[in-house]
Amino acid sequence: MGPLESDRRFYPPPSQGGLIRRLCLALASFIVALGSIVAAQAPPVPAAPQPRFVVVLDAAHGGDDPGGKLDTQAEKAYTLSLSVKLRSLLNARGIQVVTTRESDTNVDTNRRAEIANHANAQACLSLHASQTGSGVHLFASSLPPAPPTRLPAWKTGQSAYVTRSLAMAGILNSALQHAGIAVTLGRTAMPTVDSMTCPAIAIEIAPDRAAGSTTKTGLDDPGYQASVAEAIAAAMLEWKTEAHQP
């Protein structure tokens, strides 16, 4: 007796119910196979892209314009070194940075605002330094808030962003005070900031004078510089988190 004969004994002739069951199984397997083929051919669903977050650092003055005279250097040199330091700190935190100047060059006021506006940034920081006052001075534009328009006027472009600029100033204020640095807040009329179409703050670093005493931590103190830069970077990280919240 061959193997075929013995197999035939084990398979009874198909009945009516068994035939329907087999047809259903075949149909189900066909549908599953078809589904897997379609899934394999369909393009993969892209993962949700990480929203772009750009910070513009504007090192004030430069070239022929030295700015104010500090203890040992000109304001233009101080702001450039602070910009370089901040750029490193922000990049290390995964924040994209655009700078208005990378060396001791003349950059026109309007050009600075153009760079910031083309970057489509979420934060624009204009960096300054001064011998007067104490701690860090944060200045938002003194333009009155206005609703955003399709074609904002060049000299008052900031007015649509004043409210957000003030919110960003609040975050910077908290971060700097948390780092033990005295902060004063104010409003000012400054052509560069007034033309920026992004949340913008002018940050002026002054020597850290202890209240009621003549002793001060100079602008050249590396520890002071580092703590100011760290506090600003931390504030930008917080601003990024806030900006990405729905």
């Binding site: 005279k69 001064s130 007067t132 902060v183 009329a189 052509p191």
Partner: protein
């Protein structure tokens, strides 16, 4: 023997000299008369000593970025422009003092002139039948144009806070003493200038209400 032509020449020259002398004398007399007429147009009344009046100054403080109201008693003239110049001069004197909280060299001579003009965009004055019609120029808001000296701008400390405080204290002081002044513009040596010392914008029109005195420093 003197030649005839020489005698004639001598006579002609002598006559010319005399004629020129007469003309010169007349010119001198005319110049003297003009001088006397000019003296007549000079004021003949003795200058009056203006009575001392209280003036409110908004004094800046660099330590806490604040403007504090301070009342000083000054002899003030009646003319609003001269009054404004004198008050701002006093403010600058405070800043030039050795122990100033907002040190700025220059003193009262830093303010060259203050011009008061009708504010642009002036709306027509509202009149009622019971009240006499007042022209908008006589009662409406004013624009003050403050002409600073170039020496003041050149010696002003450079910095966002320092320059902003100077500008706002001038605007606030003008509005506190001349309430009709609602807008302020700045010139330096009679010319527009982009910034005061590299930071604060001097090309825009400032609203006098931008300068609000603060009693505390930190927000």
């Amino acid at each position: 023997m003197i030649a005839r032509y020489q005698t004639i020449l001598f006579g002609v020259l002598l006559a010319a000299s005399v004629a020129m002398g007469i003309v010169l004398w007349q010119l001198r007399e005319r110049a003297h008369q003009r001088l006397l007429q000019g003296q007549d147009s000079a004021p003949t009344q003795a200058p009056e000593v203006a009575p001392a009046e209280p003036a409110t100054l908004l004094v800046a403080n660099d330590a806490d970025n604040s403007l504090l109201s301070q009342v000083q008693t000054l002899p003030l003239p009646k003319d609003p422009g001269a009054r404004a110049r004198l008050i701002l001069g006093k403010l600058m004197d405070l800043y030039a003092a050795p122990d100033a909280a907002h040190p700025v060299p220059g003193g009262s001579s830093s303010i060259a002139q203050v011009f008061l003009l009708p504010a642009p965009g002036l709306s027509a004055g509202i009149t009622t039948p019971s009240s006499p019609a007042k022209t908008p120029e006589a009662s409406g808001p004013q624009l003050a144009v403050v002409n600073l000296t170039g020496a003041f701008a050149a010696s002003h400390p450079s910095g966002l806070e320092a320059e902003t405080l100077t500008v706002l204290s001038i605007c606030g002081t003008l509005h506190a003493n001349l309430p009709r002044v609602t807008q302020v513009r700045f010139l330096v040596d009679g010319q527009p200038r982009p910034t005061l010392a590299g930071h604060a914008d001097l090309t825009r029109t400032y609203l006098a209400t931008d300068a609000v005195p603060t009693e505390g420093a930190h927000p």
